[in-house]
Amino acid sequence: MAAAFSSHLPALQVVLALLAAPLCVVLRRPGAAWMIATVITWALLAIAMVLLGRVLETGTITYALGSWPAPWGIEYRIDLANAFVLVLVTLIGSVVMPYARASIPAEIEEPRIYLFYCMYLLNLAGLLGIAITGDVFNLFVFLEISSLSSYVMISLSRDRRALVAAYRYLIMGTIGATFYIIGVGMMYQVTGTLNMVDLATLIPNLTDNRTVMVALAFLCVGLSLKLALFPLHLWLPNAYAYAPSAVSAFLASTGTKVAVYALARILFTVFGGSVLIDDFGLQELLVVLAVAAMIGGSAVAIYQSNVKRLLAYSSIAQIGYMILGLSMASVIGMTAGLVHLFNHALMKGGLFMVMGCVFFRLSSVQVEDMEGLAKRMPLTMAAFVAGGFGLIGMPLTAGFISKWHLIQAALEKGWWGAVAVILVSSLLAVIYIWRVVEAAYFKPPPKGAAEISEAPLSMLVPMWVMIGMSYYFGIDATLTLDITTGAAETLLGGIQ
């Protein structure tokens, strides 16, 4: 039986999560729902790892849903790039879930919790579905599953600002999705297919077709809204700032990352990447936006007093790094972008988990309230410092690896301005991390501050596991780099 199922792993990767979600609804018990969500996430991680291993061994895997061959049916197409993303998403989920057990009840009303886990599973399924599919319209459907469930998860926080944040995210997200289907429609109109590989073979015959160009523009704008590329990032800061902490940790390290992957997939697999190199202005545009995000995001982060918001702005800057890497359309640049996708997910996930621990004890994530916190929550704040080093790009952290490659790629292209921007952005990161560190380590606790102790072990351990991984992949980056280099080569296949 096991052997029979092993060929169906691509389908199970998504379907397991889909199946588990309704089960949570039926069970109606928070503990049981948590248990299901956790076990399923771990199982999905295992599946993703097996798939990654298989792709490394034998190359691209395809799976025809309903046994209808593409392009008539929908196919799953797993190469190194998305196998890598699948592992990332499930990995983050696997670490966040144990953490959620204590964190979620502190931030969501008890009777809603079991439904929350249902939403989480749907979100996970949506993200995995986006990553794994080889069909542009199927991507839209799963994009919507993940988006709708993120809106809901964000709105569950007890802070009323989360409602407005979720609403705005919903509006912008839906506009993004609508732009995306306009683009898909136009592509379908001139090619007659929705399959990515099929599109990739047809589009080169349509160079200079204005419809294709506009389709590309709409696809890019739509996905950029989802991945919060400057200046389409407006929904992100509040959404991450006011969402429940476990949700922030999960979404910040997966949601935008999957959208970045989707953009790369559209640009490089579907459009063959040549659109970037040809005289179209798209490359320049992406670079400019990425640079603006890197500087702007970091600069605004400095002035935030809500630390989760600060981290959210930092995310906008870090997304700029990824887009910069992608837009270089070179193997090193793409590797840098993809490896940063992974590394940043670990670091930012870890940092949001830190803030979850802080919120758990302090019921606030304002810098002023965190004064003198290092004495009272030493392990938590040490994790913040450790994660912060990653954002800055100190050696031995995963952030260093990303920065190393990004600078190398920029040097290879001779883009000195980009090098300068990367450096300036890292230095700005020093400042905003320092602000929090200073408050926590060098200020006395505010008068009348409640006696608080360390966060519970069930939150500390996953948090440190996440931070620890960001160090592990900073110290020995050969594994991630081998995979991302392979993935970059796959994605860039159209260019070489």
Partner: protein, 320 residues
């Protein structure tokens, strides 16, 4: 289409949200008519039921819970909005320049994937309605995804505004406000609808099973079924309607629907096919497809109906 444009502008200008919502319903209805003209009967069916029916009711419900007048706004931001919109529009128009002319049978769109469906679905699936074949089988996975979207929405609405322990407290007046009051007292409406509702429900069932042959299918049926109930609740009493289908039941149906669909897919796995491969469900591939589509459409119908009803009642149970 010109009519739709007029409605669109009217919506943009009007401040009375009530009127705006009604116009939106009208907009959807017009679109539905248009779809019929353009040969998309299935879509027209759905649009009419969803766009003109469910969406409008939900919006009205929201208005009753919030306020029905839009405040006069400052015009500061809207200039930029206008510029942005015009630019986007121009880009789109630019994009149309290389599009095939309207209705051109030689366009690429009609010559790559689509002909396969039109030519082969007759033998491979054996249903006259190609839309159903594509929907439920060729692209059945999309449809599965979409069922999950509606499932997400239903659970999401429950999470956002649902009462955590709903089903126990029954005393909440629903709030489609004055509308509701006046309807309830209107004898003609009451009698008329009493006659009508069973017909609607029957019609829904017909649409459900007929989807294989003519326009119709799970979505349409589900939405119509839900509409029937909603109508009943509007005209009679929300609590009575609620007792007929308690929250637990809706939720059970909701879950059952999605599980049915997914289950059919998984059954394909156990029987040696790929996920959602219906051909292996029966000895003969074509009858396997038949069976699969039937079950799947039923799952869709159940989910959609349960989701719509659940969403509606959740809204209706809000206190002002």
């Amino acid at each position: 289409m010109g009519f739709m444009a007029v409605i669109g502008f009217a919506v943009a200008r009007l401040r009375n949200l009530f009127a705006v919502v009604m116009l939106t319903g009208l907009f959807s209805l017009t679109a539905a008519v248009l779809y019929v003209i353009l040969d998309a009967v299935d879509v027209a069916f759905t649009e009419a039921a969803v766009g003109a029916g469910i969406s409008t009711v939900l919006m009205l419900g929201t208005l009753a819970l919030t306020s029905s007048e839009e405040r006069v706004e400052k015009s500061g931001g809207s200039k930029w909005a206008l510029v942005l919109v015009v630019v986007t529009g121009c880009v789109l128009v630019y994009g149309t320049l290389d599009m095939p002319p309207f209705g051109d049978p030689t366009a690429a769109i009609h010559h790559h994937v689509a002909p396969y469906y039109l030519e082969k679905s007759g033998q491979e699936i054996g249903l006259p309605n190609v839309v159903t074949s594509v929907l439920a089988s060729y692209r059945g996975y999309d449809t599965l995804g979409e069922v999950f979207v509606i499932f997400t929405a239903a659970i999401g609405v429950l999470l956002i505004i649902g009462r955590p322990q709903f089903g126990r407290r029954r005393s909440h007046r629903m709030l489609v406000g004055e509308l509701h009051e006046s309807m309830r007292t209107n004898v003609i409406l009451r009698v008329g609808s009493k006659l009508l509702i069973p017909v609607i429900l029957l019609f829904a069932l017909y649409v459900q099973w007929h989807g294989d042959f003519g326009p119709g299918g799970g979505f349409q049926a589900g939405v119509i079924f839900a509409s029937g109930f909603i109508l009943y609740a509007l005209i009679f009493d929300i609590d009575t309607a609620r007792t007929m289908i308690p929250a637990r039941t809706t939720r059970l149906f909701l879950v059952f629907g999605v599980l049915l669909y997914t289950g059919v897919g998984v059954a394909g796995l156990f029987l040696g096919g790929n996920f959602l491969d219906y051909s292996v469900l029966a000895a003969n591939p074509v009858s396997g497809q038949h069976l699969g589509i039937l079950l799947v459409e039923f799952g869709v119908g159940l989910t959609v109906a349960a989701a719509m009803i659940s969403i509606f009642f959740t809204f209706a149970h809000q206190e002002h």
